[in-house]
């Protein structure tokens, strides 16, 4: 941790997450952490570093490699009074637990006539890392986004990561908290101590009047590069970070599009039936008369993730591809 001005600290995103976990464990004895390698190994990506030493094995629990079993167990624990935070070492492994997540966690409160809520957070890295090929690189938000009953959060920076994780742990619903392995080392100045960021509220990262760019998670930083490039040529883009996928803050997006008349949607996940498709359709519903150009989207190409770094780089949205999409709206 670097010293900065009073009341602030400069931390990596992984440390911001760790602080959120630690502070919520201090606040509520029913909060516990469970997952593969979260304890003695200190977390595959060190998000849970030091928590076993501080809180002990009762509340920081190493599991076997049995995602269906421990995800379901944690859902059962949530139904009976605990507030588990479950780490998936990669959200790709959540597919092993999909029945428990989908059939039990997402549907329980509604299906039981509001008798049993499921206050649980599933968190971990989502999407591509560095050359881990197709079975470890999938973006899951579009898959789970189709399911009512989930809250889906995808922060892009350390400030939001901490504030949103605290809000997620306090929420009474199953939250899928999507991180990015490539963002864990990102540093930022954030307040010391507790603060929250509300679920369901997008953030305007850059204000602009010419074109709206909507993105989330790791692609927000890529879009910031695009905003700078556009500014050099005198185009002022408004960049929106969704922060929460479900519930979607369409009001913030629609207000921006009504102002700019143009919109480009940028998503790390696959193009077909993706989050961009959903947000785009809702823009059409809310802003049809305000659009000066067809919507554009830049997403992962419609192929499984390849291993080669040359191919991997090209299948994910790149700055040139996003710039080209912006130019198509003019």
């Amino acid at each position: 941790m670097n010293e900065t001005k009073d009341g602030y600290q400069t931390v990596e995103l992984r440390e911001a997450l760790r602080q959120a976990l630690d502070e919520e464990m201090a606040r509520d004895p029913n909060v516990l952490i469970m997952g593969e390698e979260v304890g003695e190994y200190n977390g595959a990506y060190k998000v849970t570093k030091g928590l076993l030493a501080k809180w002990g094995p009762k509340r920081v629990i190493d599991t076997p490699i049995a995602e269906l079993g421990f995800a379901g167990l944690a859902i059962g624990a949530a139904m009976t009074g605990l507030r588990p935070v479950v780490e998936f070492m990669s959200f790709n492994f959540s597919f092993v637990a999909a029945d428990q997540l989908i059939s039990n966690a997402a549907k329980m409160y509604y299906m039981s006539g509001n008798r049993f809520s499921v206050p649980i957070v599933f968190r971990g890295p989502n999407g591509a890392a560095a050359q881990v090929s197709s079975q470890h690189s999938h973006c899951v938000e579009a898959i789970y986004g189709n399911l009512p009953g989930f809250i889906i959060v995808a922060p892009s920076n350390p400030y939001d990561a901490k504030g949103l994780l605290i809000s997620s742990i306090r929420n009474n619903n199953p939250v899928l908290f999507l991180e990015s392995e490539l963002n864990y080392g990102d540093k930022m100045e954030i307040p010391v101590g507790e603060y929250t960021v509300p679920i369901g509220k997008a953030r305007i990262v850059e204000e602009g009047k010419d074109v709206t760019i909507v993105s989330h998670s790791r692609m927000v930083n890529r879009c910031k590069e695009v905003v700078l490039e556009l500014a050099k040529k005198g185009t002022r883009a408004e960049l929106i970070d969704l922060r929460t996928i479900r519930p979607l803050d369409i009001a913030t997006v629609a207000a921006s599009v009504r102002k700019t008349g143009r919109c480009v949607l940028v998503e790390e996940g696959h193009i077909f039936a993706g989050i961009a498709a959903e947000v785009g359709f809702q823009i059409m519903e809310h802003c049809f008369d305000y659009l000066d150009a067809p919507l554009q989207r830049v997403c992962q190409l419609d192929t499984p993730m390849p291993y080669s770094k040359v191919l991997e780089k090209e299948t994910i949205p790149t700055v040139p591809r996003i710039l080209a999409a912006v130019h198509k709206t003019f």
Partner: protein
């Protein structure tokens, strides 16, 4: 009958021991008659609900507990309601035994706003304060029940257990292995009760599972105890559950139980049961847990035929009233469709 059919394998089971007369003395007349009333409540509920289904009042899937009444009745008589309970989609009996009223359950089957789950769950999803559900996916309740046991241990609640009912079909699921491995690994007070009715829908258990003794053979692989009970005999279930419940309270180790039972009906109401030979069905109907229990009580002069008839009639009337209640209950207002997708 289809000549390609694989016959149902007959397994010679050794049941946990019991002595019926001594048990009757120990349980006492009042509790025995209460148990009989509960079994008749289940039988009458299922019978009337099935009739309502055939009248077109009830839709969707419908899985009857007829023939298996002794098991869950004995389990709750022994352990009391104050534990965590979960089961498969064959969940009507457990909800009734845990205190859900016939009215609210019948109304749920009828899809009415007064239903147990506000008309959202239907036949497969009944709940009470301590019933985590009827679960619709085979084996899906196993990790959930394990999690309830985890909570008991986490909160250091030592006078409760988590009880998970599952069918023989669920034993082939991965959730069975993962859930029981975790419970054994972490010493969780969970009692897994496999109600082996011999059939996973239309597939004989011996065409789905690699061992004959679903608890005793499987338990070895998890380092836990396995027991086999006679699900058609209330006394055998009672004695077995009592022994096991006390053992789990004492050791906080999970236990696997196989209860051999019979499904008198098809898998669900839409299943004519053509995979089962007439002899197989006839053989299974010979031992009905309710007449068996009744005869035992009559032999000990705890019950007479007239009292039995009166109890049966009383339950039938309760269920007829429940049907009337359900039929007269309002439909859910479509304006409520979007409510409760998320908890506040």
């Amino acid at each position: 009958m289809n000549e390609l059919k694989t016959p149902l394998k007959r397994v010679k089971h050794t049941f946990f021991e019991h002595e019926a007369k001594a048990l009757m003395k120990q349980i006492g007349k009042e509790s025995l008659l209460k148990a009989l009333r509960e079994m008749l409540m289940i039988r009458n509920f299922e019978t009337r609900a099935e009739a309502a289904y055939l009248q077109g009042q009830i839709g969707g899937f419908f899985h009857s507990y007829i023939g298996q009444e002794a098991i869950q009745t004995a389990a709750i008589d022994v352990m009391g309601k104050n534990n965590w309970w979960s089961t498969s989609y064959r969940c009507h009996a457990l909800a009734l035994l845990l205190g859900a009223t016939p009215n609210e359950l019948m109304a749920e089957l009828y899809g009415r706003s007064t239903g147990n789950a506000l008309g959202r769950g239907g036949s497969m999803h009944f709940y009470t304060e301590r019933l985590l559900g009827g679960f619709g996916i085979v084996g899906g309740q196993i990790p959930i029940a394990t999690g309830a046991a985890f909570t008991l241990k986490y909160k250091e609640i030592k006078n409760e257990v988590s009880v998970c009912f599952l069918g023989d079909g669920a034993v082939a699921q991965g959730a069975f292995h993962e859930g029981i491995n975790l419970a054994a690994l972490w010493n969780l007070p969970c009692i897994y009760v496999i109600e082996n009715n011999q059939w996973g829908m239309g597939t004989a258990f011996n065409r789905a599972l690699s061992v004959d003794r679903l608890a005793e053979d499987k338990a070895l692989g998890y380092g836990i105890k396995g027991y086999t009970l006679d699900g058609l005999d209330y006394f055998n279930c009672y004695n077995g559950f009592k022994h096991i419940y006390n053992e789990v309270l004492e050791t906080s180790r999970p236990v696997l139980i196989e209860v051999i039972t019979q499904r008198f009906k098809g898998h669900s109401i839409s299943d004519p049961g053509l995979y089962r030979t007439k002899d197989e069905l006839k053989e299974c109907l010979v031992r009905d847990p309710i007449p068996l229990f009744k005869e035992a009580l009559i032999a000990e002069k705890i019950l007479d035929e007239a009292t039995f008839e009166a109890m049966d009639k009383e339950q039938r009337e309760i269920m007829l009233k429940a049907m009337k209640f359900a039929e007269e209950s309002p439909w859910p207002d479509p304006i409520t469709l979007g409510e409760d997708v998320l908890a506040p």
